[in-house]
């Protein structure tokens, strides 16, 4: 069961990504974790495509890669701006949105 292996790998990557998003303080590391999650999702989509034999999942994977590139671009730009304003990129010091 090759596909199950892929799914297991995807789940592992997802879990690592979630851990990174929640636990890391450095914003760049959080972004990298998000990339991990997105790659896990892509892997899952390709795996499902393999299981069903339909090509749709692979097409979606291509879209996810494109969106991931855009998201990382935006994210890094925000991080850069935050650094310029605050001279830090530690996320736990950013609580502007406190309600």
């Amino acid at each position: 069961m090759l596909a199950v292996n892929f799914l297991l790998l995807g789940a592992a990557l997802f879990a690592i990504g979630v851990y990174g998003v929640i636990a890391r303080r450095n914003a760049v590391m959080v972004l990298m974790s998000i990339e991990l999650i997105l790659n896990a999702v892509s892997l899952n989509l390709v795996a499902f495509s393999l299981m069903t034999g339909a090509v749709d999942g692979q097409v979606f994977a291509l879209y996810v890669i494109a969106i991931a590139a855009a998201e990382v671009g935006v994210g890094l730009a925000m991080v850069l701006m935050i650094y310029r304003n605050r001279k830090t990129i530690a996320l736990d010091e950013l609580s502007e949105m406190k309600g």
Binding site: V18, V21, A23, R25, V30, L91, S95, M97, K98
Partner: protein
């Protein structure tokens, strides 16, 4: 069955587009109203152009109608032979008798309302009567407008005057060409409205606006009759029209055919005819609703001229002539019944002529003269003399219009805008020779002197009235003719002969003019009817102030007007004289359009009006009267079938003789009649001499009286009304116009209006106000309760409660909004995890 006999009648562009004559003035009215003030002639040119265009179309239609009639003549014999070949028996017709085909009108209509088989069209239905009056109205209106250009120059509402007078003529044209009763009502009401606007043109003076209101309301009294009569006739005729002609009860041709079909309900016919004739009494100023006409003199003279010659007052006569079969059958005119119409007409002739004797206002003399002449027309129609009555409309229009314009000319240039014959006129014949000549010609025409226009028409009416068996009414007509000669002599003498008086003598001391009039007005209304002798120094009549046109209205800025106010009386300018001269020309020669007494010498061809205007009383096959399908109106197809009417020899017999044909016996099954077989009198030399002698006696008496009374001031005559009680009573009776105005204003209006007003006030105070107050109070109480209980407690409570709940929930959730991104991420993923678990559980189980 008659298919083979159908023949083609010629038509033409003007006949089919005669509706343009009505549409053009209406458009002209709109153009003048919107753009008139910016135009170089202040809108007058639009009025003139539109009326000239209407005249061209109307004359074109008249010419084509004559061609159409001739086209039937030329193929008539062929058709008769066809009828005989088919072996059809024709009642009351000798072998080979001349067959005069019924000439179907040319209808062009546009349907604007349609519901459940009933449709209203607007457009034109042209026959001989219509083209005659269309051309007449357009012609007279055009001349009156030319006259007005100078006469009302520099008036403060010059543009509006032309707008209204254009629409006024347009209203008459719309009515004349009507194909159904709805369009007749439309034109009728347009005239009612515009006459109100024109009579009250100088509304700043109260007397003028009162006169306008009086005219409007008096005519409205009659208008109720028009609506009721139309409704009655509709309910009577509709089913018959649908069954037989595929038409409806508003179509005039269908109404005519229904009335003559012999299947009409006599009660509906009678009451419909009575109601419609009441409308004609109001519109045409017949007794007892004639009181508005003399007061209508408050309007500018061109308005009086147009109103009294060819539009408005003729509308009532025209309506009777148009749906003549209804009156013919309802009042048994064909069998010599003494009709309502004839009685009213005869009364009107005499009472109006008598009233003309005591008027000092030249226009009021003419106004009563018009009322009297309209009485002749009604008398003619009421006794079966259709053709002379219609002919009298035609000739009367020319000479009466000319007389009014002469009066306007005198006032404009001779008497400093006064119309008072006794105060401001006299001796004008040398100063105003053209006006005087035109006045004389028109007076001779009005009084029926050979060979002027009135002779041919009025004497025909009198002759036919006698011929149809109404001997007494004939003598009434002759008496009226003598009276006409007398009062016109008096007016002529006072205006043009004798010594110049007042303004005519160059005296313009008019500064206190209005004051004097106003004072007299008050006196007259207070019932202090002063016993004025008819002497030369008598002041003006009961309503003198109504007749004075404002001095500032048309000051002499016209170049040809000269300095009227410095030079005294002088002849009027060209724009005023040209229409008068043209009309005087027609006053001489219009009678030769139908010189019946000459017919025996020159053949019937000279009777143009008889040949082309009088509808033929020939039955028409009903199937030829087709509807063209939904969305289109009923069109009388150009087909004619022959079942000839009574032969000419059988016509003109004495009343009570056996008559058959249309109007006497019901038409055969499958055929319909549109016009009754009216008889025509054979003119005899003796009758002509009699009527001329009567007129001559009238003239002789009047001239003698005028010379003695006004000229030499014979002591036996001056002051006679003061010395003789009977004469004084008669004079006062006439001076107060038979007290009809008192009756209407003080008795009827008072008696009707005051109790009603009081009752209405009581009901208003005690019933309506109480109800309104009660409703208001209870509403306020209910409102207060609702405010206290529902609004404050329920609604506000709900709103406040939801706000409070939201606020508390927000406070409870506040800690989650830490601003920490990682915490948000944890929540997000936690929620996703929970969602995933739920998804798995749902799918597995």
């Amino acid at each position: 069955m008659f298919g083979a006999e159908v023949l083609e009648l010629s038509s033409g562009w003007f006949l089919e587009n005669a509706w343009l004559t009505g549409l053009i003035p209406v458009l002209g009215f709109a153009v003048i109203l919107f753009f008139g003030k910016k135009l170089p002639m202040k809108g007058a040119e639009v009025g003139l152009a539109s009326m000239a265009a209407s005249l061209v179309v109307a004359v074109g239609a008249a010419v084509q109608w004559m061609q159409r009639t001739n086209s039937a003549e030329s193929s008539g014999e062929e058709a008769v032979s066809l009828v005989q070949a088919f072996g059809r028996s024709l009642p009351g017709v000798a072998e080979g008798a001349e067959a005069e085909p019924f000439i179907t009108p040319v209808a062009t209509t546009w349907v604007w309302w349609q519901n459940s088989g009933l449709e209203f069209g607007i457009g034109s239905s042209v026959d001989g009567l219509a083209v005659l009056i269309l051309a007449l109205v357009a012609f007279i209106a055009l001349l009156v407008m030319v006259f007005s250009v100078d006469y009302v120059r520099d008036d403060r509402r010059y543009t509006h005057f032309f707008a209204a007078i254009t629409l006024f003529a347009g209203g008459m044209l719309i009515m004349v060409m009507a194909e159904n009763m709805v369009q007749i009502i439309l034109g009728w009401e347009i005239m009612g409205l515009t006459s109100f606007m024109l009579i009250g043109h100088w509304w700043e003076e109260e007397a003028n606006s009162r006169a306008a209101l009086k005219a409007f309301f008096t005519v409205r009294v009659g208008d109720v009759g028009l609506l009721v009569g139309t409704a009655i006739i509709f309910f009577g005729a509709n089913q018959w029209a649908v069954d037989n002609l595929d038409s409806n009860g508003f179509n005039i041709a269908a109404i005519q055919a229904w009335a003559l079909s012999g299947e009409a309900n006599t009660q509906l016919l009678l009451w419909g005819a009575v109601a419609l004739f009441i409308a004609c009494i109001g519109k045409s100023g017949q007794f007892p609703l004639h009181t508005w006409l003399p007061d209508a003199m408050a309007g500018p003279t061109p308005v009086s001229s147009l109103l009294h010659s060819s539009t408005m007052v003729v509308a009532g006569v025209f309506l009777v002539a148009r749906i003549y079969p209804v009156f013919w059958e309802a009042f048994n005119i064909g069998t010599g019944g003494l009709s309502f119409i004839a009685i009213i007409g005869a009364i009107t002739i005499v009472i109006a002529a008598l009233l003309a004797f005591v008027q000092d206002d030249i226009k009021k003399v003419l106004a009563y003269s018009t009322v009297s002449q309209l009485g002749y027309m009604m008398l003619g129609l009421g006794t079966g003399a259709w053709l002379p009555a219609v002919f009298h409309i035609f000739t009367h229009a020319f000479f009466k219009c000319a007389l009014f314009l002469c009066a306007g000319s005198v006032s404009h240039s001779g008497s400093h805008h006064s119309f008072d014959m006794k105060k401001d006129m006299g001796g004008l014949r040398k100063k105003m020779p053209v006006t005087f000549a035109a006045w004389c010609v028109s007076t001779l025409a009005l009084t029926g002197v050979f060979p002027f226009a009135g002779f041919w028409s009025k004497d025909e009416i009198i002759d036919n009235v006698g011929n149809n068996g109404y001997t007494f009414l004939m003598w009434v007509g002759l008496f009226g003719a003598a009276l006409t000669a007398m009062y016109m002599t008096r007016a002529t003498y006072l205006t043009f002969f004798g010594e110049p008086r007042g303004a005519a003598a160059g005296d313009h001391g008019h500064d206190d003019h209005h004051l004097a009039h106003a004072e007299e007005h008050e006196l007259a209304h207070a019932g202090v009817a002063r016993s004025l002798s008819a002497g030369a120094n008598v002041k003006s009549g009961v309503e003198g102030s109504a007749s004075d046109e404002p001095h500032g209205g048309h000051g002499g800025s016209a170049a040809d007007d000269g300095d009227a106010h410095q030079d005294g009386p002088h002849e009027s300018g060209k724009l005023i004289l040209i229409p008068i001269v043209i009309l005087a020309f027609f006053a001489i020669f219009a009678g030769f359009a139908n010189p019946t007494p000459l017919a025996s010498r020159f053949g019937e061809g000279v009777e143009l009006i008889k040949k082309y205007v009088e509808p033929r009383s020939t039955p028409v096959v009903a199937e030829e009267f087709l509807a063209s399908g939904p969305g289109e109106s009923i069109v009388l197809v150009d087909g004619v079938a022959y079942a000839p009417s009574v032969s000419p020899a059988a016509e003109g017999g004495e009343a009570g003789a056996e008559k058959s044909g249309c109007g006497f016996t019901a038409p055969e099954a499958g055929t319909v009649c549109f016009f009754p077989g009216v008889s025509h009198a054979e003119p005899t030399f003796a009758k002509i001499l009699l009527s001329l002698a009567v007129v001559a006696v009238g003239y002789a008496l009047a001239i003698g009286f005028c010379v003695l009374f006004y000229g030499r001031r014979d002591p036996r005559l001056v002051g006679l009304t003061e010395r003789n009680k009977a004469l004084r009573g008669g004079f006062l009776f006439l001076k107060n116009k038979y007290y009809l105005d008192h009756l209407y204003e003080n008795v009827i209006v008072h008696a009707v209006a005051h109790p009603i007003a009081k009752t209405a006030y009581w009901i208003n105070q005690h019933v309506l106000d109480a109800t309104v107050d009660g409703v208001g109070t209870s509403t306020r109480r209910a409102g207060e309760w609702v405010y206290d209980n529902i609004d404050q407690k329920l609604v506000d409570g709900a709103v406040n409660g939801s706000g409070w709940a939201a606020s508390e929930a927000g406070h409870a959730m506040q800690p989650t909004q830490s601003g920490k991104v990682s915490q948000y991420g944890a929540l997000l993923f936690g929620a996703a995890t929970v969602g995933a678990i739920v998804l798995v559980l749902v799918n597995v189980s």
